[in-house]
Subunit: 210 residues, 2 copies
């Protein structure tokens, strides 16, 4: 009673990337972004995201370097933290999500913002040189940009993939327009999410071609 | 230096659902699915998924009942397990993901299948009446259907949202065509993922209208 499907994971992987390569539009995509963007596509099943990708020219080079150097990864949600492949992080980077810390609720009230945005106040001891991975909440990305405007130490890269209908597109436009010169990658519009964010981290951690 | 965005989470939530309601096509969607599907849309930022949703007529009723009764939730990935809102599970349902159990690698070799599919062999003690949540791997959904064909005890509901280019569409078509009469919901085609799967569980657990 075996159903007819491919059972071998390397075969599934290889065929998936063949399909992605055959369908994705490589025009205007910098060569060093191609493998990374293929992995984002693989995570969401949509080849048309290429047109909405925007990235700083140093994103891939700096991202690989700081992950290999063991810099902490700061995540807005537990889903992002849970998806990161520990086995690919050879430098055993700390993976930090402060959303469920007990003081976050009070901070949210104090600053008049969401819990997800308030959780960033607890990132400050780790932020300098860290990898920031925002896969869910537009308010977290807005708050990050505000804190940078206020002089917070800079992370090394920003993976900005909030998803949804209120604030997502605007927060990602603000990231792409920000003047802090921090290497970033984003997917403009409403689409985004934790799976795409995790795929970006895992791709940069793996640091190889497909 | 405050940026211009909505800071209040209930306000963000309310406006998001106003946008979703104004854009989504309700034709051919059974009334009891509307709230659930709105939450799936909220999780992925795409109102056009409605056309690809397929669900058993008893999915919502049975799903609410078994979650309220404390049945275990079996997840294919740690990301799905991490995203489920514990605070909405008033019956403190066990959340189980067997993917990282040490014996999974050997089982995969024995059965000639992926690790994700092999992990289902460890679901057998919990499967009867459980909630199955597959948010990533087509081979896990194929394997589930095979095990049911072979007489494994039935789960109460199946949330089938594998994503990707190889097997995802076929595994979801097989779920919708399966003859086991187990209430299910799926999103046909390549799209799917852990965020949508988690949104389905959280919506059924919450059990209210928006």
């Amino acid at each position: 009673a075996r159903m007819n499907y491919i059972h071998d994971s390397s075969d599934i992987y290889r065929r998936s990337f063949e399909i992605i390569k055959s369908e994705m539009n490589l025009d205007h995509l910098r060569p060093d972004l191609v493998v990374l963007v293929m992995r984002l596509i693989h995570a969401c099943g949509m080849t048309d995201i290429v047109a909405d990708i925007s990235a700083h020219e140093n994103l891939v080079a700096v991202g690989r370097e700081v992950l290999a150097a063991g810099k902490p990864i700061l995540c807005d949600t537990q889903m992002v933290a849970a998806g990161i492949s520990r086995t690919k992080l050879h430098a055993k980077n700390p993976i930090i999500c402060t959303l469920n810390e007990p003081e976050v609720k009070d901070i949210a009230k104090q600053i008049g913002n969401t819990r997800t945005a308030a959780a960033l106040s607890l990132w400050i001891p780790y932020i300098e040189g860290a990898v920031v991975a925002i896969g869910n909440a537009p308010t977290a990305l807005f708050r990050l940009l505000e804190m940078l405007d206020q002089g917070m130490p800079k992370p090394s890269i920003i993976l900005g993939f909030p998803v949804g209908f209120v604030g997502a597109a605007n927060s990602k436009a603000a990231l792409a327009a920000s003047t802090h010169n921090i290497p970033f990658i984003t997917l403009h519009g409403r689409r985004g999410g934790s799976a795409i964010t995790v795929a970006a981290i895992n791709a940069l951690a793996k640091g190889e071609d497909i």
